[in-house]
C-alpha cells in the first residue's frame, strides 16, 4: 500500500474505533452492565436502563450506521479512493 492509502486505512480504523465504542457503551453498557443503576432515572414512563435495553440501543445502532456511511463517503472522496 502507498502512504496515502495507509493514511486512509488508519483514518478508517479510527472511525471504527469511535463508532464501535459508542455501540458498546449503549448496548452492553447502558442496556446490560449499568442497567440497574440507570433504572433509578426516568424517561417519561420508562425506567432509563430499561429504555436503553429495549428501545434506545436500537435507535443508536441505526444512527451509527448512517453516521458511518456519511463519514466514509467523505473520507473516500478526500483520499480519492471512491468509485467512479
Amino acid at each position: 500500500m502507498q502512504n496515502r492509502d495507509k493514511k486512509y486505512w488508519q483514518k478508517n480504523l479510527q472511525y471504527l474505533g469511535i463508532l464501535l465504542s459508542v455501540w458498546f457503551v449503549v448496548s452492553y453498557g447502558c442496556g446490560i452492565l449499568w442497567v440497574d443503576a440507570l433504572d433509578s432515572f426516568r424517561l417519561g414512563g420508562f425506567k432509563l436502563g430499561f429504555w436503553f435495553a429495549q428501545q434506545g440501543s436500537i435507535y443508536v445502532f441505526v444512527i451509527l450506521i448512517f453516521v458511518y456511511v456519511w463519514l466514509m463517503n467523505r473520507l473516500d472522496k478526500k483520499y480519492e479512493v471512491d468509485e467512479a
Binding site: 500500500m1 502507498q2 492509502d5 486512509y8 486505512w9 478508517n12 471504527l16 463508532l19 464501535l20 455501540w23 448496548s27 452492553y28 442496556g31 446490560i32 452492565l33 442497567v35 433504572d39 424517561l43 417519561g44 414512563g45 420508562f46 425506567k47 430499561f50 429504555w51 435495553a53 429495549q54 428501545q55 440501543s57 436500537i58 435507535y59 445502532f61 441505526v62 451509527l64 450506521i65 448512517f66 458511518y68 456511511v69 466514509m72 463517503n73 473516500d76 480519492e80 479512493v81 471512491d82 468509485e83 467512479a84
Partner: protein
C-alpha cells in the same frame, strides 16, 4: 366476511404477487442466480435484507417471548439488531469489494486453501438447514391454524411457492419477492400494534405508547404492569432474572452470530458498489428496527391486556378469544380450587398455562380488532417465514453448486452446467427442508442456538481477521475455526442432549448458558488463530495484495498504484 375467508383472500393475493414477481425476474446466468448480477439498488437490498433476516421467530415468536421474559427479553432485541452495526462497519463493504459469490468463496480465497473452503461449505449448509426447518414448520403452523388445513398441506403449499421463485429466479427472484414480503409483513405487524396502542394509551405510535399513561388512568403503562406482575407473584416486568454475565454473553453471541450468518452476508454481494453496501446495511437495520422497536411495545400491551382481561375473571364470563384458543390447546385452564374463576399466578395455585407463541397471533382477537386484521397477520407471518426460507435455500444451493462443484470437484464446469446444478441443488434443498418441516426432528427448537453460536464461533472471526490482518494465514484460520466450532458444539451438545438435567445456572461454566457460549467460542477462535498464525509462515504475496485491494473501495486500487510507481 369471517376470519377464514379474509385469510384466504389476503394470503391468496400475496402469493399471487410473489409468483408474478418470480416470473418477471427469471435468472439467466449464474451471476443472476447467485447475486442478482450485483445490480440491486441499496434501498431494494435494504428491504430484501430486512425480510431475509426477520423470520417466523421475529414475527410470531419474539413479542410473545418478551412479554413473558420482561427485561430479559432485551437480549433478543439488542442481539438481533446490534449485529448489523458489526456487519455494516466490519464486513459488508469489504466483502462487496471482494466481489464474488458466497461466504465460503471468501474463506477459500483469502486463506488460499481448499480445506478452509470446505469447512466454510459445511458450516454454511449446516447453519442454513437448521434454520430453514424452523421456517417451514412455521409456514405449516400458520396454515393449519388460520386456514383449517393440516400442517402437512400447509408445508406443501409453502414448498411449492418457494420452489417456484427460488429455483426459477435464484437471487434475482428472491430479492424482489423479499421486497414485497417486507411490505406485507411490516404492514401486518404494525396495523394491530397501532390499533392496540391507540386503544390502551391513546398514542398512535407504539414506541411512544409504550412509555405513556394508560387511557383514563394516572399511572404509566409499565408501572401498572410492574404492579400487576408483582401482585400475581411474578418479578416486576422491568426487572431482570438472568445473571448479568449470561445476558452479556447471549447478547454478544446473537450479535456476532447475526453478523456471521451466510444468508445475511451474501445479500451485500448483490449491490453494485462498496458505497451501496454500506448504505444498504443502514437501510436494512432501519427497516428491521421498525419491527424491533414495536415488538417490545406489543409485548407490554399484550401482557397487560392479558392479565387485566382474565385474572380472577369467572370462567363462564371469559372472553371469546380465550375459549377459541383454549380449543386449540394453546391455552390450558384447570380450575384447581373450584371457585369458577381464573387464577393466573406464579405459584402452585396457578390454573392457567399459555403458549407464548400465541401472543402475536391472538393479539388482534384479544383487542377485538376487525376480521381482516387477523387475516393480515396470517399473511404477514407467512411472508416472514417464506422470505427467510428462500434466502437460506439459496445459500445451500450456491454453496453446493459453486463452492463444492465448480471450485472443488468439477473445475471444468461450464456456465450452463453450473447454473443447472445450482437449480437442482435448490430444488433438493426445498424438498429436504419441507421434509423437516413436516417431520421436525425433536431437536429443532434445541438446535437454533447452534446456528448463532456456530456462526459466531466460525465465520465471524475468520472473516474479520481475513480483512483486518495481513498476517493471519491459512494454518491459523483453519485451527481457529475448528477449535471454535468444536468447543461451542461440544458445550451445546453436552447441556442440550447428553446431560439436559444439568442445564441450569449452577452447572454452567462461569454461569454462561448454551445460548451464550458462542461468545466464548468466538474468543477462543480469535486466540487460536492469532497464536497459530504467528508460529507459521505469513500468507503469500498475492493474498496480501488481495487484502490491500479489498480495503480500498476504488476498483483496481492497488493495480493502478503499481502502474504509477
Amino acid at each position: 366476511m369471517d376470519i377464514q375467508s379474509w385469510t384466504f383472500v389476503i394470503v391468496g393475493l400475496s402469493f399471487a404477487l410473489y409468483i408474478g414477481i418470480a416470473i418477471w425476474s427469471r435468472a439467466r446466468d449464474t451471476s443472476d442466480f447467485y447475486v442478482a448480477h450485483g445490480q440491486v439498488s441499496p434501498l431494494a437490498n435494504g428491504l430484501a435484507t430486512a425480510a431475509d433476516w426477520m423470520s417466523a421467530a421475529s414475527f410470531i415468536g419474539m413479542a410473545g417471548l418478551i412479554s413473558f421474559l420482561g427485561r430479559d427479553g432485551s437480549v433478543y432485541l439488542m442481539g438481533w439488531t446490534g449485529g448489523y452495526v458489526l456487519l455494516a462497519l466490519l464486513l459488508a463493504p469489504y466483502l462487496r469489494k471482494f466481489g464474488k459469490f458466497t461466504v465460503p468463496d471468501f474463506i477459500g480465497d483469502r486463506y488460499y486453501s481448499r480445506s478452509a473452503r470446505l469447512i466454510g461449505v459445511v458450516c454454511a449448509i449446516f447453519i442454513s438447514f437448521t434454520y430453514v426447518a424452523g421456517q417451514m414448520r412455521g409456514v405449516g403452523i400458520v396454515f393449519s391454524r388460520f386456514l383449517d388445513v393440516s400442517i402437512e398441506t400447509g408445508v406443501m403449499v409453502g414448498m411449492a411457492i418457494v420452489f417456484f421463485y427460488a429455483v426459477l429466479g435464484g437471487m434475482k427472484g428472491i430479492t424482489y419477492t423479499q421486497v414485497a414480503q417486507y411490505c406485507v409483513l411490516i404492514f401486518a405487524f404494525l396495523v394491530p400494534a397501532i390499533f392496540i396502542s391507540i386503544m390502551m394509551t391513546g398514542s398512535a405510535i407504539p414506541q411512544l405508547g409504550f412509555g405513556s399513561t394508560l387511557t383514563g388512568e394516572e399511572s404509566f403503562l409499565l408501572d401498572k404492569l410492574d404492579g400487576l406482575s408483582q401482585q400475581l407473584g411474578f418479578a416486576a416486568y422491568t426487572s431482570g432474572n438472568k445473571q448479568t454475565i449470561d445476558v452479556f454473553c447471549i447478547t454478544a453471541a446473537l450479535m456476532v452470530g447475526t453478523a456471521g450468518l451466510p444468508h445475511v452476508i451474501v445479500r451485500f454481494f448483490t449491490v453494485p458498489k462498496v458505497r451501496d453496501a454500506r448504505k444498504s446495511a443502514g437501510y436494512a437495520l432501519l427497516f428491521i428496527a421498525v419491527l424491533y422497536t414495536s415488538a417490545p411495545a406489543v409485548a407490554a400491551f399484550a401482557r397487560t391486556n392479558l392479565i387485566q382481561s382474565i385474572s380472577e375473571v369467572r370462567i363462564d364470563q371469559a372472553p371469546e378469544w380465550f375459549n377459541n384458543w383454549r380449543r386449540t390447546g394453546l391455552i390450558e385452564f384447570k380450575d384447581k380450587n373450584g371457585d369458577g374463576r381464573i387464577q393466573y399466578l406464579n405459584s402452585e395455585r396457578n390454573e392457567l398455562t399459555i403458549d407464548r407463541d400465541i401472543m402475536v397471533l391472538a393479539n388482534p382477537e384479544i383487542a377485538g380488532l376487525p376480521n381482516w386484521v387477523v387475516g393480515l397477520v396470517a399473511a404477514g407471518a407467512l411472508a416472514a417465514a417464506l422470505s427467510t426460507a428462500a434466502g437460506l435455500l439459496l445459500v445451500i444451493s450456491s454453496s453446493v453448486a459453486h463452492d463444492l462443484f465448480k471450485r472443488t470437484l468439477r473445475p471444468r464446469f461450464t456456465e450452463k452446467q453450473e447454473l443447472r446444478t445450482a437449480r437442482i441443488a435448490a430444488a433438493c434443498a426445498v424438498v429436504i427442508a419441507g421434509y423437516f418441516g413436516i417431520n421436525p426432528p425433536a431437536f429443532v427448537a434445541q438446535v437454533v442456538a447452534f446456528a448463532f453460536g456456530l456462526a459466531a464461533a466460525s465465520f465471524f472471526p475468520a472473516i474479520i481477521m481475513g480483512i483486518f490482518s495481513r498476517r493471519i494465514n491459512k494454518e491459523g484460520a483453519i485451527a481457529g475455526m475448528v477449535t471454535g466450532l468444536l468447543f461451542t458444539a461440544a458445550y451445546i451438545l453436552y447441556f442440550k442432549f447428553i446431560d439436559p438435567g444439568a442445564n441450569n445456572a449452577a452447572h454452567w461454566w462461569l454461569g454462561i448458558s448454551p445460548e451464550g457460549i458462542g461468545t466464548i467460542g468466538m474468543l477462543i477462535n480469535f486466540l487460536v488463530t492469532g497464536l497459530v498464525s504467528h508460529l507459521t509462515p505469513p500468507p503469500p504475496e498475492d493474498v496480501r495484495k488481495m487484502i490491500d485491494e479489498i480495503r480500498l473501495p476504488r476498483a483496481n486500487a492497488i493495480g493502478s498504484y503499481q502502474a504509477e510507481a
